[in-house]
């Protein structure tokens, strides 16, 4: 239970007795002349932030990032345990509450390991040095003759050994080593025991027994249950509410009107009416019985069909130039062959299996609130609750539960604010649940986009001009009312960083208004940018009469690094330095070759089958995916095989990285095959499965092979990079099988027949 875990963590912070708490020695830097552990790359590496050792020898590791299936508990524990020379079986995880002392806790952007790897290693190494020094002091020997192994310090000369539990109190009195000393003590790569190993998951044994606490599972004494009826349109308002019938339902306790949403929408509640009851079912029934009238507001003119036309109109007009190499107009004009293609990717919903849920409990004096919630960004939740409730941030406590899926949805804490407001209104602890209908109809949607690509080929079929124009309502609209211009932070996701070796290249963006809350979803703009760019690469190959894979490698070009900042783009490289994480064409080409080999690229395929390939760098990692499709005479599509390769640099847990590669690829395929959220008069039309459809077991490939490239490069992202190549690899495979080019997602219409719009497999003489 997070409740007990948090309480224990809190106690540990103050403990006198059993626990070893380095917080007692904060600031006592042994070597003031060298940089302190508060200034480590990635943030403060003071060991007490992350490591506690009890007198019984239990190693309590604080995980400041949210666990949502990416196995961050393992990753953080493996890194810390490595440097700590800990016994894995003695490790316990404490999930950190939301607090700036931990540094950045926002668990998105595939950066938990990327940004914390070095910092956590330093913290662990510092702690190990302190344990060794404590033992040396006790034995009255030199620290150099002592070493740490599996939770013990050993003096080889005498054969003496002491467990970490026995050393805890003494170690706490040791000064914190300097950064220089700690970095020098890092365990060399060739001696790693835990980092890189497929250490079994810390969460799975609980999961298979129904243990562990997700956001929806929190129970607080005296708790009531709430669901909210929200305006169908964003910025719609409640016109009238009659709750008489609701109040007749046994178990319904109260209705609470939520504040009207004023732009910008940020993480504020959407408004509407909450029904509070003695159990969830009564709340759901009570909500259904509300008589509500809504003022639809300014977004009631949002109709997806008409909006798609607007996007296509925009994308056909020249846009603002955001990256420029050579003279693309002249090169297009002079090209021997000119190819144009337009792509469309609809809104998507996160559809986390655990819909948003939060529990809030106010202090008796009403001046502080404690929340338990499935949040990716507990500090954002803390700020949002404080702002909406008019509290200073230090009066808001956010306990982080397990997340039943995140995918970006749970980085937006509107639901935590709702829980806090409703709990305050009814004067009792409240668990506020979103139903699936709520989750699908009131999300922060993945944006809708249109893109136009124009390519020019010379007489030899080489690409000499590459124009990419992208139009989509930007995420910025969620934070600044009326924002319509794509940010550099969105363009860098697969548009401004296209690594193609073409002499003339240009990126342009257009502007369109947002009519729903736009959010970020696993791999974000990479989804549509990679779909367009990697599909178009295959279209160019087809126009040149070349093999897709060979042509893609030719576009990627020779091994070299690319810096879009030299071509007019503002490119921040996912927040990582270009020096450590350059855009490396060689690594991208390498995963293409590995995936092609693994899939048997070029082999003879059965009739109606086709192979497609796509490769993409995102979150500073490199993924290539090959997909095999089979299309029968009716146009029914099946996916007999998928092969994916990821180079994410140094990987902490190769098995869990492989899980992300499998799941992230299928997440991308699911969205490409079925995913579409549409609005009618500003309201979302999909209310539950299967009108919003996701991949199920029978639709998953029976054959899937993944490979994690062994690499000494610094760690890159793992959770998101697998998703972008899936959709274009699928579209390229469909083209190879049928000659039909999918430029508009999803692949299937709503009839659930899983047939391509144009039936029939490829016949002799067909093009492509």
């Amino acid at each position: 239970m997070p409740v007990t875990m948090q309480r224990r963590a809190f106690l540990a912070g103050l403990a006198a007795g059993g626990s070893f708490v380095l917080g007692l020695t904060l600031g006592a830097d042994a070597d003031a002349a060298s940089p302190s552990l508060t200034k480590v790359r990635g943030g403060d590496a003071t060991p007490s932030l992350f490591i506690g050792i009890t007198a019984a020898g239990t190693i309590e590791l604080t995980c400041h990032r949210s666990e949502m299936g990416q196995q961050i508990w393992n990753a953080i524990a493996q890194i810390l345990a490595e440097e700590l020379a800990a016994d894995w079986d003695r490790i316990e995880i404490i999930q950190a509450e939301g607090h700036p002392r931990y540094g950045d806790q926002n668990t998105d952007g595939s950066r938990s390991v990327r940004n914390n790897f070095h910092r956590l290693r330093v913290a662990g190494a510092a702690m190990r040095l302190m344990l060794i020094r404590a033992a040396a002091k006790q034995w009255k020997v030199g620290a150099k003759g002592c070493r740490a192994e599996l939770g013990e310090v050993i003096h080889d000369a005498s054969g003496r050994r002491l467990g970490y539990g026995e050393l805890a109190a003494g170690a706490a009195e040791q000064p914190i080593p300097s950064l220089k000393q700690s970095e020098a003590a890092l365990v060399p790569r060739d001696q790693w025991r835990y980092i890189g190993a497929p250490v079994p998951s810390l969460t799975v044994p609980k999961i298979v027994r129904g243990q562990g606490t997700f956001g929806v599972d929190v129970r607080v004494p005296g708790m009531l249950y709430a669901v909210v009826a929200r305006p169908p349109q964003v910025l719609g308002r409640l016109r009238s509410c009659d709750d008489a019938a609701s109040k007749q339902i046994p178990g319904v306790v109260a209705s609470v009107e939520l504040p009207v949403l004023e732009p910008p929408v940020r993480f504020k509640p959407l408004g509407g009416v909450a029904i509070v009851a003695r159990d969830t079912w009564a709340a759901i029934r009570g909500r259904a019985a509300l008589e509500l009238e809504w003022e639809p507001g300014e977004n009631a003119d949002y109709n997806s069909k008409a909006y798609a036309e607007l996007l296509f109109e925009q994308v056909r007009e020249p846009g603002e130039v955001r990256r420029k190499r050579g003279d693309v107009d002249a090169a297009l004009a002079g090209a021997a062959t000119r190819i144009t293609a337009e792509y469309y990717v609809p809104h998507l919903a996160h559809s986390v299996m655990e819909p948003p849920a939060a529990t809030a409990r106010w202090s008796e004096s009403g001046d502080a609130v404690e929340c338990w919630a499935a949040v990716q960004s507990p500090q954002s939740a803390r700020s949002a609750v404080a702002a909406s409730c008019g509290l200073p941030e230090d009066k808001v406590t956010i306990h982080v539960t397990w997340l039943g899926g995140g995918f970006g949805r749970k980085a937006k804490p509107d639901f935590v604010v709702e829980a806090a407001l409703v709990a305050r209104a009814v004067g009792a602890p409240v668990k506020l649940m979103w139903t699936r209908e709520d989750e699908l109809q009131h999300g922060y949607y993945h944006t809708v986009s249109a893109q136009r690509l124009e390519g020019g080929l010379d007489q030899q079929g080489r690409c000499v001009a590459f124009l990419h124009r992208t139009v989509f309502p930007p995420i910025g609209s969620t934070f600044t009312a009326g924002a319509s211009k794509p940010a550099w932070g969105e363009l860098r996701l697969g548009a401004s960083d296209t690594p193609f070796d073409v002499p003339n290249l240009q990126l342009e963006s257009g502007e369109v208004p947002a009519k729903v809350r736009i959010g970020w979803l696993r791999s974000v703009a990479n989804i549509y940018h990679a779909f367009a760019v990697q599909s178009f690469a295959a279209e160019l190959a087809a126009a040149a009469g070349r093999d897709q894979k060979d042509y893609l490698l030719e576009l990627i070009g020779p091994p070299r690094t690319i810096d879009p900042n030299t071509e007019g783009a503002e490119y921040d490289n996912y927040g990582s330095p270009m020096s450590d994480y350059p855009i490396d064409a060689g690594r991208l080409a390498h995963v293409v070759e590995l995936a092609a080999d693994m899939a048997g690229w070029g082999r003879t395929l059965p009739a109606g089958h086709g192979l497609g390939i796509a490769a993409h760098r995102s979150f500073v990692s490199y993924v290539a995916t090959v997909i095999e499709v089979a299309v029968d005479d009716q146009g029914t599509l099946a996916i007999p095989g998928v092969w994916s390769v990821m180079d994410a640099g140094t990987v902490v847990n190769v098995n869990h990285a492989a899980s992300q590669l499998e799941g992230g690829t299928l997440f991308g395929l699911s969205n490409a095959l079925y995913g579409e959220i549409t609005a009618k008069d500003g309201a979302i039309e999909q209310d539950n499965f299967p009108r919003w459809r996701v991949m199920r077991m029978p639709e998953a490939p029976r054959h899937m092979e993944v490979k994690i490239v062994a690499s000494n490069a610094p760690p890159g992202g793992v959770g998101e990079p697998p998703t972008p190549p899936a959709a274009p690899a699928l579209a390229n495979a469909i083209f190879a099988a049928t000659g039909q080019r999918i430029r508009r997602l999803p692949v299937f219409d709503t009839s659930r027949r899983d047939r391509l719009a144009v039936a029939g497999s490829r016949h002799e003489g067909d093009e492509g």
Binding site: I207, D279, T280, P355, S659, G663, L666, F689
Partner: protein
């Protein structure tokens, strides 16, 4: 109205609206939170329990229809099939976020109890009602074959190794 039923072997007499779905009785009244809500309309399978040994979606099972029945949840699932499934799920680290996995595990146990060595098609048919947004399907399939082999002796092993070879 009062409803009598047994959950994980324990007798309960509950004063609830008979229309209340079993899911909310388990979660809100009995404190058994292992069974999850995912859709409320029997589309996602996160709430799968066994009623008299057969899988049932708790979100659409009104408690009034369960008088005198035996309900088993993820917390109470036991026996060789349950243990084999848990062991292979752990061995392969099948779950990611884990939220849907109580339902996946309960469906997999029910399948193996009925079909000792399921084919890929048997797995497709039995598991199609359990959505996993993390898309752990490839590992679920592998784990079911592996659990079948661990329980089922030679026939199961032969099939599982075939499945392995295929990979």
């Amino acid at each position: 109205m009062s409803v009598k039923l047994r959950v994980n072997g324990q007798a309960h007499e509950l004063e609830v609206d008979p229309e209340t779905p079993l899911l909310w009785v388990l979660r809100d009244h009995l404190g058994l939170s292992g069974t999850k809500y995912g859709c409320g309309v029997a589309q996602c399978g996160a709430c799968t329990v066994h009623v008299d040994g057969a899988p049932r979606r708790a979100c659409v099972a009104p408690i009034g229809s369960l008088a005198g029945r035996q309900v088993t949840t993820i917390e109470g699932a036991s026996g060789p099939h349950a243990e084999a499934v848990r062991a292979t799920w752990e061995g392969l680290d099948v779950p990611q976020c884990g939220y849907c996995q109580a339902g996946q595990v309960m469906s997999a146990i029910a399948l193996l109890e009925r079909v000792p060595t399921p084919s890929d098609q048997d797995i497709d048919h039995a598991m199609s009602g359990n959505i996993c947004r993390c898309a752990t399907y490839v590992r679920i399939r592998r784990a079911i074959h592996s659990a079948a082999a661990s329980i089922g002796g030679q026939a199961g092993q032969a099939e599982a190794s075939e499945a392995e070879e295929e990979r």
